[in-house]
Amino acid sequence: MGKKTLVPLGPYHPLLEEPEFFKLYCDGEIVKEVIWETGYNHRGIEKLCQSKTFEQVFYVVERICGICSTSHPFAYANAVESIPGVEIPERAKYIRSIVGELERIHSHLLWVGLAGHFLGYNTLFMWAWKYREPVLDMFEIITGNRNNYAMFTIGGVRRDISPEQATQLLNVLEDVKVKTTMLVGAVMDDPVIHARLKGVGILTAEDIHDFGAVGPTARASGVDIDVRRDDSYAAYDMIDWKVITAGSGDVFAKAEVRLLEMYESISIIKQCLEALKKTEAGDIKVKVKEIPPGIGIGHAEAPRGEVFHFVKSDGGNSPVRHKIRAPSFTCIPTFRRSCVGGTISDAAIATAAVDPCYCCTERMSHVYNYNTGKHIMSAAELIKLSQEKTKILKAKLKV
């Protein structure tokens, strides 16, 4: 065995929602072992929630994640409303689903852009993020905020969707659908992307079961799970949609699942908007007086997979225990299987494939020689390495 080199992939940047640190132990260019370290931004949210009232917890958990900031309130609502057994109005169910699916669209567009950037497709990055903007604007029109929407409350939602907003939203969705088709074409028909992503970062169905990985990461390995269907909540059992899966388990399959899921989300929102016409405007909330003692376990399908909330109430004002599990907690350890055996230049896209909020990595990671501690390269150079590999492939394939 040659020299073992330590390649730290890791942002210590406090602005990130998930600052992780990966130690890639490499022999030459091949990754031999991945060690995950975390805790750089431990905020003690679970402890904090125990000091807030049940109502206030919504606005705390919303701030766990800046990108999928409705998935945590969604799971929390499912958990806490199940304790007294509240049935929310039908209109509120549709509005919840609309917000949840809009979020999936913008989150997947963000991922497509970032993945493009890591591969050296900066035009794809610019396009995807440009087409994400109208979705965020739509959030502002419907909820009042581009992020941290503050839409959910115990017993329903806080704002109604007017017929004018619905029309506006439909127009935006039509546009997003056209652009999605364009992005799907740009990814699926590009021979270089096929060469870069196929067979890279493979996870088998067995790996998924071992780690308990969820969401697009699991579905790309042929594991047909989706909380929206398996343990249906909000309006998902009242409309017609299907779960997207792929079989190969590599990064390409994960991209495919995410891209095709956007079509499903668009279709779900359209059906929900249609159904809103049949329900009475303004009937969006039921009053919940108190949360009795009991246990509430709720989960929701976020863009990255299942978000899980456990709430225990003793009949008081605040939860006595609130456990939260975000999808990245079980998806990130899969790097142990997906990166090992691949090259360092593939590690960037293999780790990005589970969508672990990766944006700050490029500013913060550096490559040192494990034995001498000498600086070898920075993260910008690491991404350059990945981009150069694409360039070489492009030249080879003459595109």
Partner: protein, 148 residues
């Protein structure tokens, strides 16, 4: 899922089970003694193919309560194994040899509640910085925040 038959079957299979109750819609809680955790978890995870979700630990009035959450995705039921640990001796066998993905959450519980997991492959600090004092566990009831 016929839940009454399910409960009967699992109690027949593992007579050590203390109790099993439906705590909410599609949520089953099985109370087990700590020495039968591994065999029951193995049955759920490997034989029945349930998905491992996460482990919740809390400081209850009676002692330290650990809840292992498993999901049966074909029916939407969440099956929970509830173990109560003695406050004076908070230790239990690690689930990691059975469920590989449990390594990280057990390290988190070690940090936050000071519960010891026996035979854990890497019983090191997970969340806290190196300068965090030994023996201070923020999720315990007797934890007091220091004045700044």
């Amino acid at each position: 899922m016929d839940i009454e038959k399910y409960i009967d079957d699992i109690i027949t299979k593992f007579p050590k089970i203390i109790d099993a109750e439906v705590v909410n819609i599609k949520r089953l809680m099985i109370y087990i003694p700590k020495n039968s955790l591994l065999e029951i978890a193995e049955y759920l995870f490997k034989n029945l193919g349930y998905r491992y979700i996460i482990v919740t630990a809390m400081d209850s009035k009676e002692g330290f309560e650990i809840i292992y959450h498993f999901s049966d995705d074909s029916s939407g039921w969440i099956v929970n194994l509830n173990v109560m640990l003695d406050r004076d001796k908070p230790e239990i066998e690690s689930l990691t040899p059975v469920v590989y993905g449990a390594e990280w959450i057990e390290r988190e519980i070690m940090d936050l509640l000071g519960i010891k997991f026996l035979n854990h492959p890497k019983p090191e600090r997970f969340l806290f910085a190196e300068d965090w004092p030994e023996g201070k566990y923020p999720l315990r009831r007797d934890y007091v925040e220091e004045e700044k």
